[in-house]
């Protein structure tokens, strides 16, 4: 690292720089049913350098940049050549000037993880054991799984003197559950992401997956219905909230994709629940928790939207300078406040409750959302019928005035939000 810093400091064609060094070690296990199909290990070192060129044209200041990755197998000459190429490219990139982040005297807390204790092979074995202990329930079983524990040692340096290091763990389980229906067997796909060893979290996830697989095995194709309220599972539809993140993004404002400002009501008048969203650098057991963003900004909690009104535009160092607004940094954890209805109050028949989408679609630019669902519960007023092979479609700008949120909250990795989201006026395609 010292060699790279010296190289960058002595180059006349590099005005400023950032360096991110990431050392990743992983242990990975792949199972089919209960048998180990393959095991893998990984040790990778990556050094990502961004070089900046500052220049003026017609009295206006500009900053060009180019990001390049240096490999540990490169010698100094190769690194220098690559930095020169990036520097030359940066000189043709004509972006508005901004200041790189300055060092802070404040020290970020350590991100806790039990994965830091003991051998990784022991830790990953515990995950496998916890998951498979719950196998074969509700008429469902585990088809296949993949387990990953990644340890990342990260160091961020910039030419203004920031030099911070931290360690984080990223755990991941790909989980396929299966159940036999009357005519065919079905499966459900889940990905669990986490940063800490939380036994109950793994147990709850596998139990829910097995229950949902059992329901899908009994599901019938969604019938054609009209004017039926839709209740979406808050985890399955968490992408819905991306629209508000887009609408409060300083980068998107700078790119003229919206013209929202602090104090603007982006939800409009509503007879439903008002939206409040906070971004948090640290959320317990979140794999994307980190206290520094790509510019080295030390991150704090930021209320993004409060009661439908923008409280803060989300701006990294670059866009904060462009728009002359406070720098929030890029924050990855999303916390949406609960609403004013209990689950019981929302689930007034008849309704369609969607538990699993194939892939929930949320087009933040247009506001369109929806998708095909793999599992839902159709309550026709007399009984609950598991359904599949249907789809919903709506535009958040058209339906957010009547959006009802549960008081109950659910958590999934980097997201906490209402467990149920209800709309009265969504298009449903059935069979």
């Amino acid at each position: 690292m010292r060699k790279i810093i010296n190289l960058l400091q002595n180059k006349s064609n590099v005005d400023e720089y950032t360096i991110t060094e990431i050392k990743t070690s992983s242990t990975e296990l792949f199972f089919i049913k209960e048998e180990l199909q393959m095991n893998r290990g990984k040790d990778i070192e990556e050094i990502v350098v961004t070089v900046y060129r500052n220049f003026e044209e017609d009295g206006k200041k500009y900053k060009g940049s180019s990001t390049t990755k240096l490999d540990p197998t490169m010698n100094l000459e190769e690194m220098e050549k690559q930095i020169d190429t990036a520097s030359l490219a940066a000189s043709f990139v004509k972006n508005e000037f901004f200041n790189l982040e300055q060092p802070s005297t404040e020290v970020a807390p350590i991100i806790p993880s039990k994965f830091g204790e003991g051998a990784v092979i022991e830790n990953i074995s515990n995950l496998v054991k916890d998951l498979y202990e719950e196998n074969n329930q509700f008429g469902s079983f585990i088809n296949s799984t993949e387990f990953f524990i990644n340890k990342k040692d990260i160091r961020f340096i910039n030419s203004n003197g920031i030099d911070v290091s931290y360690t984080k763990y990223i755990g991941e389980i790909e989980l396929i559950t299966e159940a036999n229906g009357e005519t065919e067997s079905i499966e459900l796909y889940d990905v669990l992401e986490f940063s800490d060893y939380v036994k109950d979290s793994i147990k709850n996830a596998i139990l829910e997956a097995l229950k949902f697989a059992s329901l899908r095995a009994k599901a019938i194709p969604m019938p054609k219905v009209e004017n039926l309220p839709v209740i979406m599972n808050g985890i399955a539809a968490q992408g819905l909230w991306n629209y508000y993140g887009f609408s409060a993004s300083a980068g998107n404002k700078y790119d003229n994709l919206h013209n929202n400002n602090v104090g603007d009501n982006i939800q409009g008048e509503t007879t439903g629940d008002k939206v409040t969203i906070t971004r948090k650098p640290y959320l317990e057991n979140s794999s994307v928790s980190q206290y520094y963003d790509q510019f080295g900004t030390l991150l704090k909690d930021v209320v993004m939207v409060k009661d439908g009104v923008i409280e803060n535009l989300l701006a990294n160092r670059r866009y904060a300078d462009y728009l002359d607004i406070p720098c929030t940094g890029g924050i990855n954890n999303n916390v949406v406040n609960g609403g004013s209805y209990t689950e019981k109050e929302l689930k007034v028949p008849p309704y369609l409750e969607i538990l699993k989408f194939s892939a929930f679609q949320s087009d933040v630019m247009t506001g369109n959302f929806g998708g095909e669902f793999r599992l839902g519960i159709y309550n026709d007023g007399t009984k609950e019928i598991p359904v599949t092979l249907g789809s919903i479609a709506a535009n958040i700008k058209e339906v957010q005035d009547k959006m009802y949120l549960s008081k109950e909250l659910a958590k999934d990795n980097n997201f906490i939000g209402p467990k149920f989201i209800k709309f009265d006026n969504i298009r449903i395609a059935g069979n």
Partner: protein, 475 residues
Amino acid sequence: MKAKLSKFLLDNKLLLKKLVTDLSKEFKYVSLLGSDTVGTAYNVSVTGSGVNDSNWKERGFVVRVFNGVNYSEYSFNSLENMETIKERITNVAVNDIKILVDKGFKLMEFPLIEDENMIKDFSSDYQINPFEISAEDKLKKMNEIKALGLSKCDQLLDFRVSFEEVKISKIFLSTHKDLSQSILYTNMHVVAIGRSEKGVKYDFEGLSGLKGYEIMEEAISKIDKVVNSVKELFDSENIIPGDYEIICDPSVSGLIAHEAFGHGVEMDMFVKNRAKGQEYMNKVIASDKVNMRDGALSEIEVGTFLFDDEGTLGTDTLVIEKSILKSGISDLLSALKLGTTPTGNGRRESYQRKAYARMTNTFFEGGNDLLPDMIKSIKKGYILEGFFSGMEDPKNWGIQCVIAKGREVINGKITGKIVSPVTLTGYVPDLLQSIDMVSNDPLELGGTGACGKGHKEWVKTSTGGTYIKAIGRLS
């Protein structure tokens, strides 16, 4: 011009061969995949520009060894201490396996890979080396395209242009194999973003191929199409959900071939009993108008290569022949387990990831129908144009294809009404068996994006076809 293999891989080949030889003393099968991929991504927009490394850039290695029962792998990207690398491989393949067995884990048994003697290399062709064109010239050309796009419509907020050049160099070494390949491809996107009183609308056109800087001129021909598309989207309406006669343009045909069906014949899913396709082998799965292919050698696009990431030579697989499901596509380990022949579809996101059975160039073959006749035959339906995304469901064959727009056709005539967004859903066999016309247009393939397996493991693939007519559920 021919793409050249990385000097780094050539310079270190002897060292890597020695690693394979040394490890072969301890393990009955050893292979090494070395990757040195370089690339740069350029973008321009109204508010700025960027020149950064391509996300596909990588330099590193993955070793696979037979651990006595099945296979273990180790990925690394430093050659500083070969003894440490050997120790880590032994740790993964011997020590970790012993710990897992001691804990009561069962190992799935796999046969030993029987390697055949093979020395081969491949270099892709291109006209103009993009790496020899300066960043300044590329950005200048892209800014010209941007300006031309913006000049076409006052309501455009932005006209974004992106260009990516990637040169893949790979070597595969085992006791008996010595393979190398160098493949150069380029991608471009032109994205028009506009605003009307109905809100923001956007569309994009993509270009791709095993080609060089010559792709930049092709992008100019896409400007009018993408701008006109956004103008049409300004006046688009919501679709009334229901079953309609549909004509899919080549991009949507390709999406259906890929998402609705291709994932369902990836044979690692057969090993897991996760694919419905397994039940349909040698049975009718589609209408007799349908022929579908996948393979590194099926067409020349971004899914083309000499050998896959397990050292199996690429092939051309006829997946569906006149309605009958004839073959799946397979990685090496799945073929070993199933007792079938690998089809050269074992692909990795990078040297850092596991290999899975993955698609390459996937498409419906052209038919004998004329597009005007296909339109005339529609009583009430839509021509589906462009796509944003798709999601597979190989076990239960549900479909989700998010389409950019639908062009209404009533009684054989295009009405001018546009619906957007459109999601095509339903049951794969119903859709494939409803295909009653396939156009005789030239085959069109596109490979600008990347394909995931589940929600991860992204690889470059191309998809396409000609126009197909079917019945589809739209919402």
